[in-house]
Amino acid sequence: MTIQAPNLQATRQGLSVEALSKRFGNVEALRDATLSVEPGEVLALVGPSGAGKTTLCRIIAGLTAADAGCVRFDSEDIADMPAGQRRVALMFESYALYPHLTVRENILSPLKARARGGKPGGSFIGFDELLAVLEIAHLVDRLPAALSGGQKQRAALARALIQDPRLLMLDEPISHLDAKLRHKLRGEIRRMLGTRRHPSIWSTPDGLEALSVGDRIAVIHSGRIEQIGTPEEIFRRPASIKVARLFGDPPANILGGELSDEAGKAVFASSSLKLDLPPRLQELARSRNKKNVYIGVNPTDIQIDGNGRFSGSIYSVEAFGKNYIVTVQLNGGELVKIKTKDPTERKIGSNLSFDISPTGLMLFDGDHGTALA
């Protein structure tokens, strides 16, 4: 009996994952995870280590069975399809290169395996072109043992990118490369994936990388999907404090306090500072009638200003080339990070005045840490 292959051109709808859950003993690795990725789209899957990124990828690939939920390719439920037939190209964070094969043999191995299965070993990109992009052409005859970590990572990446799969999943694909190469490959791989017919998932613990490479971003934390959105939505309007903490360099300052009404205006007050909410949040603050809240303030939304309304003592100063991160301790003990281009020398312990532009302020529920919206 032969299995009829679906007409891919007609039914390409990408990947959808519905309500996936998975437990390992007492640990809830994944709970009710739902997401979808369109053909040609890159979904950046971001979360701290242990959040469930790898478990989710392994379930989609068919390497781990879910306790509940389903995975569909082009509307077809593939729960019972063995991993070998799913045509998922998966790049493992641990590389998983064959130690006895050369770099060339490793990269070509998925095409050979498919050719043996009687299916065409189709590929999107020429072998030589791919090697040139990844800067590993000079390494093709080496065995993995003779490669550095970064070189192994690029060989594993080449093996994933050379395929023409129904879904491509990259698990931390560029984490072990130096800054210059990471910057270059981030762009080149991202552009390559945008021209493809299959959906891609790019998993990373690095929020900035996710902002760069994702058409959309799915934030995962403690096994739950916290938010799915465009890079701008995620950065400007994080759905929870957990999300806000993952993005930005450095991430937003989160400060706890209370909301009150002063002459018809919603005002945030902590032991250290008092701030009118921006017009965007005024109505919201009134309607939700919430007392305990957290605010989120991006470090670039704070200006050092001798006449500023707020002040604190300088806790630490980190001098980067193009900007400085100054951490200030407020009189209530909270630490606030300020990102500035002003190169004035600043001494630890001295006083610093600053002002906050409230336009970009974020507002979170004091009990659950979810955005008030």
Partner: protein, 371 residues
């Protein structure tokens, strides 16, 4: 705490192999944090291991406070190490891990308690001091291992990639904690890292190594403003510096092949061009120094090919079409209104460009190189 000095230090792991560390002369001042920064295989870890006594020197000498120490066993050097993977006793409590080096030294119980109190307070570990370290977050475990390093009051603290196992948020937090602690206690420290952000955030000075050789040692600011050569210029700054092949025209104008862009150096900089032959110049421009504006139809000189949102900034890849296609990266405030295929105009201020010799790759103006 003492001055640490490397004099003509060489390290060769086996006969016939290249030098892993090649004629290193380097000084870490008292109370200073010096970072050793470079790609894997640059010699930074070998240097650290020689200071710690975990590797022998092939030749040369290392001095602590003027005394040669290369013949001393590690235990007699009074060095503390903080490792990438913490190396704690998982079943012992926070305070027992911190106090461990002193129990081995057999100090009195009162002295031990006093020092542990002081260290746990300093590192903000009081609330969890009775807990076993197993199960603590990576950031908390690394603070415990820093506490264990400091309790002996060492001459020198060696930090070996202390933040690389931590997630972003914890990394940013611990980075400023370590920096504050090091400065407020005046700890003489050497930090080994491959991450320029870590080095820049924490170190007073950074020594950049490549292929066993020291490339430049300077403050983070100097490295950014005056990189000694193309390697350093590429290594410091993210996104990396743009490198453009350039020619010098008769009037002293620098041509980088971008239409409508004439770079004229300030008079006091012009003399460096006198000895340069046409076409042997590389001009470096940092992405944050490329000014981008929307262009009226005739004024455009670049086309946006790729836009990366990075939160408070956008990184733009710009193509210069024409007989000699070029690519340039710009960093602008984000979110920017620009989209792929937009025609834009860029400008570069001559004051912001770096000049390198193509052959030697040296910065034509930097005196900050290694003498």
């Amino acid at each position: 705490m003492a001055v640490v000095e490397f004099q003509e230090v060489n390290k060769r792991y086996a006969d016939g192999q290249a030098l892993a560390v090649d004629s290193l002369n380097l000084r870490c001042n008292e109370g200073e944090m010096l970072a050793l920064l470079g790609p894997s295989g640059c010699g930074k870890s070998s240097t650290l291991k020689m200071a710690a006594g975990l590797e022998d020197l092939t030749s040369g000498e290392i001095f602590f406070g003027g005394k040669p120490i290369s013949a001393l066993p590690p235990a007699q050097r009074n060095i503390a190490m903080v490792f990438e993977d913490y190396c704690l006793y998982p079943n012992l409590s926070v305070e027992d891990n911190i106090g461990f080096p002193l129990t081995v030294q057999r100090v009195t119980a009162t002295e031990l308690a006093k020092r542990v109190d002081e260290i746990t307070a300093m590192l903000g570990l009081e609330a969890i001091r009775k807990q076993p370290v197993r199960g603590l977050s990576g950031g908390a475990q690394q603070r415990v291992s820093i506490g264990r390093a400091l309790i002996r009051e060492p001459n020198l603290v060696l930090f070996d990639e202390p933040l690389s196992h931590l997630d972003g948020d914890q990394r940013v937090h611990l980075r400023s904690e370590i920096s504050r602690l090091q400065k407020s206690r005046g700890l003489t420290s050497i930090l080994v890292t491959h991450d320029q952000n870590e080095a820049t955030a924490m170190a007073d000075r950074i020594a950049i190594m490549h292929g066993g050789k020291l490339q430049q040692v300077a403050t983070p600011r100097e490295l950014y403003l005056r990189p000694a050569n193309i390697f350093v210029a590429n290594f410091i700054g993210e996104p990396p510096m743009n490198m453009l092949d350039a020619g010098v025209e008769d009037g002293g104008t620098i041509d980088v092949g971008i239409p409508g862009l004439e770079l004229v150096l300030a008079p006091d900089r012009r003399k460096v061009l006198d000895s340069q032959k046409a076409g042997d110049l590389v001009v470096g421009v940092r992405p944050e120094h490329v000014a981008v504006v929307p262009a009226a139809s005739g004024d455009a000189n670049v086309r946006l090919t790729y836009r990366e949102p990075r939160g408070d900034v956008d990184v733009l890849t710009l193509a210069i079409d024409g007989p000699k296609p070029l690519e340039l990266v710009a960093e602008v405030d984000g979110p920017s209104p620009y989209r792929v295929n937009d025609l834009l105009r860029i400008d570069i201020l001559a004051d912001h460009i770096h000049l390198f010799d193509r052959e030697s790759e040296a910065n034509l103006e930097a005196a900050g190189g290694v003498q």
